[in-house]
């Protein structure tokens, strides 16, 4: 490599690295730093409090609540779009009339921003004239004005449904691509060997969709960890913190209650959780790589 090439490579690499450093590494390091302080976000004078913020986390009832909600949110946000996307892909992969139209329809929500999706579902869940209660009223004949987003026992799940509605199209498209990639010979072997449709699905199609599942789950994990906006729009973590996730809790502590130090400590814990999840994911990925290459 000659000198000019080396300069060019360094220069071209430096630009994205600088952006990455400024917007990812620096805030991350800052969070670690501020998690050991009692900074309120404005005052230049603050004290180092050691592990006090982390100690407070252990006794914070709202943190425990947010952790449980985050676990529910993550599991549901991975399982529901994955399962629904797979089901739709298997249905639409058959040469059904109108399949192409439905593929587009089911994919459409992913093109919308979380703010628009959140607003659409706020209308759907509206107690008096929302679509859901209206349909329930007509179907059951009884009066239905359930405040889906204002009741603690339905708020989180209502947002999960909205989230799944948006994300399912993406999973479906990835699974459809995966189904197209399954060699016809392998399905013909199933026919010759006498596999029932269920055996074929369970023992051949689903395992062969593993590379697609890896992508779908990776995207679901990443999206669910980032899934703050739709919760913020639809419930803001309420009512009574019933849909409060760690990301939402961190936001409220940092920017609503101006406890930046404590909020940073929560963000550090969230970061560590994400690292564990991603670590487990990469371990699985190595196994998949051995088989599928």
């Amino acid at each position: 490599m000659n000198r000019q090439n080396r300069i060019w490579r360094t220069a071209l690499l430096a630009a994205p690295l600088a952006v990455f450093g400024l917007f990812v590494v620096w805030p991350l390091m800052s969070s670690f730093y501020y998690s050991f302080t009692n900074w309120n976000g404005f005052n230049p004078n603050y004290d180092f409090v050691g592990f006090a913020n982390f100690g407070k986390i252990v006794t914070d009832r709202l943190f425990l609540n947010a952790t449980i909600n985050t676990a529910i949110w993550m599991v549901a946000a991975i399982v529901l779009p994955t399962a629904l996307g797979l089901g739709l892909a298997l249905l639409l992969d058959r040469k059904l009339p109108g399949a192409r139209f439905f593929k587009s329809v089911f994919y459409l929500p992913i093109c919308l921003s979380a703010v628009i999706v959140g607003q659409i579902w706020i209308w759907i869940y509206q107690p008096d004239w929302g679509l859901l209660n209206t349909v329930l009223r007509h179907v059951t004949g009884a009066e239905h004005n359930w405040a889906w987003l204002a009741r603690p026992n339905t708020a989180l799940w209502s947002v999960i449904v909205a989230w799944s509605w948006q994300q399912t199209g993406l999973s479906m498209v990835i699974y459809l691509a995966g189904l197209t990639g399954i060699p016809g010979d392998l399905l013909e072997v199933c026919e010759i060997e006498g596999a029932s449709p269920w055996q074929r699905l369970r023992r051949v199609v689903l395992p062969l969709l593993t590379p697609s599942t890896v992508v779908v789950v990776a995207l679901s994990v990443i999206n669910s960890l980032k899934g703050f906006d739709i919760l913020y729009i639809m419930t803001g973590g309420g009512p009574f913190n019933s849909s409060d996730t760690l990301a939402m809790h961190m936001y409220n502590e940092s920017f609503a209650k101006f406890r930046m130090g404590y909020g940073s400590a929560i963000s550090v814990v969230l970061f560590l959780i994400a690292m564990v999840v991603i670590g487990l994911y990469f371990r699985q990925l190595r196994k998949v790589d051995r088989i599928y290459g």
Partner: protein, 344 residues
């Protein structure tokens, strides 16, 4: 094991008829090879026998039983694909035992049968590996293992060696020949490779445009082709086709109705200048034990191929004279049908 009969078998895709009425009986234990150019219908016929392709009309009979509408699994056939069609997520052992595990046989029985098959195919040490950790030849052996473990009535091979390199192809060809000798099973083998067809087959079926051109033993097809198509298709290099009036055929008695003559490269001989048709060597192909010389003759539009010994010193540009062995010339009428053999 079973006799297989195709009875006026036809297949159309939309308005396009691709199989135009096949009649064929394959005896129990026979090794039959389907050959023909691309798109001639040999693979489609194999898939109809397997039940992977619907039959438009006609019947497929196995051991006297009509299986035309029977699902593939109910026919008792096994198929080996060109792509091997191994399940990438299953180990060699699980691939071989796939069909048995679908039948929910006891695990111990499956394991014992898989081990037995693996030993016969030298796959014993590879049972825990995944397909992508195997070579092409090993993969094809696994595919063969999966087909023999169920003890099928008929084996179908769809160009099974096409993806292998030349050396492995020779080795696997011998293994398939050994397998047939050991199992004495009915086997149908599709290939476009002449050597595979000639070396493996009890009988060869030559396909062309959805029809059977000729059925016979390899040497019968080679020596007594029924028509110009078979004569040109069987044999490599191909038979030389000559117009009856050319210098190379001078002095030969032309049968009534003959429009064209055919002579194989090994049935032409170099002679002293003036004793035969004169020409020049255009190209030489040295294969080791033999050499093929492509000669340009003044009164023929195409070159004529001649087989010479491997140590022949003939070089391109050399002027030569050659003669056809008279009793080896085959004659064809205007429709391309072979006329009665001129040799005894």
């Amino acid at each position: 094991m079973a006799e297989l009969t195709l009875d006026r078998l036809r297949k159309s895709f939309g308005s396009q008829e691709v199989i135009k009425g096949l009649d064929l009986t394959i005896a129990d234990g026979e090794f039959v090879v389907f050959v023909g150019p691309s798109g001639c219908g040999k693979s489609t016929t194999l898939r109809m026998i397997a039940g992977l392709e619907d039959v438009t009309s006609g019947a497929v009979r196995l051991a006297g039983q009509d299986v035309t509408r029977t699902r593939p699994a109910g026919r008792g056939i096994a198929m080996v694909f060109q792509s091997y069609a191994l399940f990438p997520h299953l180990s060699v052992a699980d691939n071989i035992g796939f069909g048995l595990s679908l039948q929910r046989l006891p695990r111990a029985e499956i394991a014992a049968r898989v081990r037995a098959v693996a030993e016969t195919l030298q796959l014993g040490p590879l049972l825990e590996r995944f397909p992508r950790e195997l070579s092409g030849g090993q993969r094809q052996r696994v595919a063969i293992g999966r087909s023999i473990i169920r003890d099928p009535r008929v084996f179908l091979f769809d160009e099974p060696l096409s993806n292998l390199d030349a050396a492995l192809r020779v080795q696997m060809r011998l293994e398939i020949a050994r397998l047939h000798r050991r199992l004495r099973a009915t086997m149908i083998y599709v290939t476009h490779d002449q050597v595979e067809a000639m070396t493996l087959a009890d009988r060869i079926v030559v396909f062309n445009e959805g029809r059977i051109e000729q059925v016979g033993s390899p040497m019968a097809l080679y020596e007594r082709p029924a028509n110009r198509f078979v004569a040109g298709f069987i044999g490599a290099p191909a038979m030389n086709f000559l117009a009856p009036g050319c210098a190379l055929l001078a002095g030969l008695a032309v049968p009534a109705g003959a429009r064209e003559a055919g002579i194989r490269p090994e049935h032409l001989a170099l002679v002293a200048p003036g004793d035969g048709a004169g020409g020049s060597v255009e190209l030489i192909e040295r294969l080791g034990p033999e050499t093929f010389a492509h000669l340009r003759l003044p009164d023929l539009p195409d070159t004529v191929t001649l087989r010479l010994p491997g140590d022949s010193g003939v070089e391109p540009g050399t002027a030569v004279a050659l003669r056809a062995l008279p009793d080896r010339v085959q004659w064809f009428d205007a429709a391309g049908r072979a006329l009665a053999a001129t040799r005894g």
